[in-house]
């Protein structure tokens, strides 16, 4: 008989060999829960649901461990949404969650929408509004009591289609009503800081509706999901949870041969490489399209390839089926040298840390080399088949982000504008002359709910020009401003384009007219244009108007924020200690003059 005492194995071995069975997941979850793997980052996750959530536990635990997280779960009593969320003394808040899952079935919070035959057309809007209002009230209630991000399950397609075959042609198809309910739920989330949709509907489609539900579990135990559905929800939830905790990589570094096309350019030539409408070229072309969608989302692309530089760039520029052109790449390292060095060079060129890079190469040897030489880089393991390239990148979670901001959508344009700016800079004029020609404009306004998501995004990912690197959540910033803090955002534009919302400052009132700068940051895209001076100047003005007479700045040194080290000294602040952490300046009207060659526009809204 097999002994229950198993040989000790590491986490990666445990997960790699894990069977997709409930028993295997439960056994693995027990070892994870017992604290066997101290390398995991603990995260406290609470569930509030209208149904039985308990069976998800082993799947969430194991899949979270796969993403480096030790999920500590709290499951609120069944069907107690308001009781738990609106009551400050509830067990939910005693648990002190890092994230809260809100999972309500449409059967429970909007059942009439699932019965369109009996639903008068005039009541549809009313019912949809009621669903949105209930979700909104829960999110508001959560915010009163916790700063934890909320992950709100949306509604999977209806299990029962009342009108049968006629539903799709019916004027109020149940499929459409569920979709509209999901849009309302998304609106409720979008309007609130730190609230995100968990796309349960998408997971249901991926699993397939036939395999999604287990009628026995639904009737006996009020569990709406089959075992397979539970596992897939666990996988997606772990991915989302990780995305709430860690910023996405900023740049995808790609190989060329057998990655962006099939074959080896130096051997097969431009005509010989596989890239086109027919297999296998079609698989590479599709991969290029998907990579381009990452760029559209704001991810920078770069190349690290062992090739002849001119020949390779020429192939991208001239190949009729190349979707990715040289202009799509923000940095290019094509030579016969070491790829670890290439990654360092790309990071330097893009002004990001190497930890912001993800590397994808069909060669496992290159991947392993980079892993050993530059462990900070996220190396995406190459799959056996080129048909699975995109899935590997997607599933890695390296580029997972829970919201796409307007700045993300603009970024690929901004990279090109940056290149033009650099060439203007190279033409040998003084910085003042350069800035004057650039016609830099800083637009500055108070942080409100519309700008809060982007502000939180900047707080989460800005490293270089960040004086204190305090990673406040959107909800924390909101609370600070409600408590009397000054919070300003800044957009920067110039004659080449708009860099978007790129600066944030937060200052808190202390005693006797003293204010402290809690946070001051600037996206690295706009460093060196005096925009930081504009932001500080506006802050001093606003604090002075609110009665502040002395401003204390703080510089907390990190491995990455050297560009901000002399910021307070450069602006006339005096050090308060030998460590040069705290700096102070007396405020008068006009303390810290605005920069001469930059236009400041003050607005009340974004």
């Amino acid at each position: 008989m097999e002994s229950s005492v198993r040989p000790e194995r590491g986490l990666s071995e445990l997960l790699a060999g894990l069977e997709a069975t409930p028993a295997a997941y439960m056994r693995a979850a027990r070892r994870i829960e017992a604290g066997e793997f101290p390398e995991l980052q603990p995260v406290r996750l609470a569930f509030v649901a209208t149904f039985t959530v308990e069976p998800l536990r082993p799947y969430v635990m194991v899949e979270s461990a796969r993403r480096g997280l030790l999920a500590c779960l709290h499951i609120a009593p069944f069907n107690q949404l308001e009781q738990q969320i609106l009551e400050p003394s509830s067990a939910l808040y005693a648990f002190e969650p890092d994230a809260v899952v809100i999972a309500a079935r449409l059967e429970d919070i909007g059942p009439t929408l699932l019965c369109p035959l009996a639903l008068p057309p005039a009541r549809v809007e009313e019912e949809l509004a009621a669903v949105e209002a209930r979700v909104a009230a829960l999110l508001e209630g959560l915010r009163q009591n916790s700063e934890a991000p909320a992950l709100v399950f949306n509604f999977p397609p209806a299990e029962f289609v009342e009108a049968g075959l006629a539903d799709a042609g019916f004027e109020r198809p149940v499929a459409g009503l569920v979709q509209r309910a999901n849009e309302r739920l998304a609106t409720a989330c979008r309007r609130r800081a730190g609230a995100y949709v968990f796309d349960c509907a998408r997971v249901a489609c991926e699993v397939g509706l036939d395999r999604w539900r287990d009628a026995r579990l639904a009737h006996l135990y009020r569990v709406p999901y089959s075992a397979e559905a539970q596992r897939q929800i666990g996988r997606r939830l772990a991915r989302v949870l990780r995305a709430t905790l860690r910023p996405p990589c900023k740049c995808l570094v790609l190989d060329l041969d057998n990655t962006l096309w099939g074959g080896v350019l130096a051997e097969d030539g431009l005509e010989g490489i596989r890239l086109g409408e027919e297999y296998p070229g079609s698989a590479y072309k599709e991969f290029q399209r998907r990579v381009l969608s990452l760029a559209d989302r704001g991810v920078l692309l770069a190349i690290a390839s062992r090739n002849h530089r001119e020949e390779a760039l020429d192939a991208l520029a001239r190949h009729p089926d190349a979707v990715l052109k040289p202009k799509h790449f923000a940095a290019v390292q094509i030579h016969w040298g070491d790829k670890a060095q290439s990654l360092h060079a790309i990071a330097a060129e893009l002004n990001v840390g190497v930890d912001a890079l993800a590397f994808f190469d069909d060669s496992p040897v290159e991947g392993e080399w980079v892993r050993t030489q530059v462990p900070e880089v996220t190396v995406i393991t190459s799959p056996d088949s080129h048909l699975a390239f995109w899935e590997s990148i997607d599933e890695s979670g390296a580029f997972d982000q829970l919201l796409v901001s307007a700045e993300d959508l603009q970024r690929s344009d901004m990279v090109r504008n940056q290149v033009q700016r650099l060439s203007l800079k190279a033409s040998g004029v003084s910085l003042e002359e350069f800035l004057r020609r650039l016609a830099v404009r800083a637009t500055i306004g108070p942080i409100r709910s519309d700008t809060l998501p982007r502000v939180a995004q900047l707080l989460a990912k800005t490293n270089q020009f960040n004086l204190t690197t305090r990673r406040h959540s959107a909800a924390q910033v909101e609370a600070m401003i409600r408590g009397g803090a000054v919070g300003l955002w800044m957009r920067v534009s110039d004659r080449f384009g708009d860099s978007g919302l790129v600066g944030v400052v937060l200052a808190l009132p202390r005693l006797d007219g003293e204010w402290t700068v809690d946070t001051l940051l600037l996206s690295c895209r706009v460093i060196g244009r005096r925009a930081e001076t504009a932001l500080l100047s506006e802050l001093c003005g606003e604090v002075w108007r609110r009665g502040g007479r002395r401003l204390v700045g703080e510089f907390i040194q990190t491995a990455r924020n050297a560009p901000a080290a002399t910021f307070y000294r450069d602006h006339g602040f005096a050090p308060l200690d030998g460590e040069e952490r705290f700096w102070a300046i007396a405020l008068e009207k006009g303390t810290v003059a605005p920069p001469a060659d930059l236009e400041i526009v003050r607005v009340e809204a974004n």
């Binding site: 229950s4 409930p22 028993a23 439960m26 056994r27 308990e54 069976p55 026995r216 579990l217």
Partner: protein
């Protein structure tokens, strides 16, 4: 053989040593055998033996001995 596999599955679901289990082991003797983990037991037994349990069988499966009885009725020797 079936006996051993049943004990192994029950042990994995409830986190106990398989050798500590006997025919009468059930919700009354195992602290971790509650209604939530019973759901996982149902799914684990189905996956292990490749069977589908009816709702009645799923509800009745309340001891190691009963699991064996139900499985043998379904032709698992």
């Amino acid at each position: 053989m079936v006996e051993k596999r049943i004990r192994q599955v029950v042990a994995e679901v409830f986190g106990v040593d398989p050798s500590s289990l006997h025919d009468e082991s059930g919700p009354d003797t195992l602290a971790t055998w509650d209604s939530a983990s019973h759901i996982n037991l149902i799914l684990a037994v189905e996956a292990e033996f490749g069977v589908t349990l009816s709702p009645e069988e799923a509800m009745d499966m309340l001891s190691v001995g009963l699991i064996r009885t139900i499985l043998s009725e379904k032709g698992v020797a």
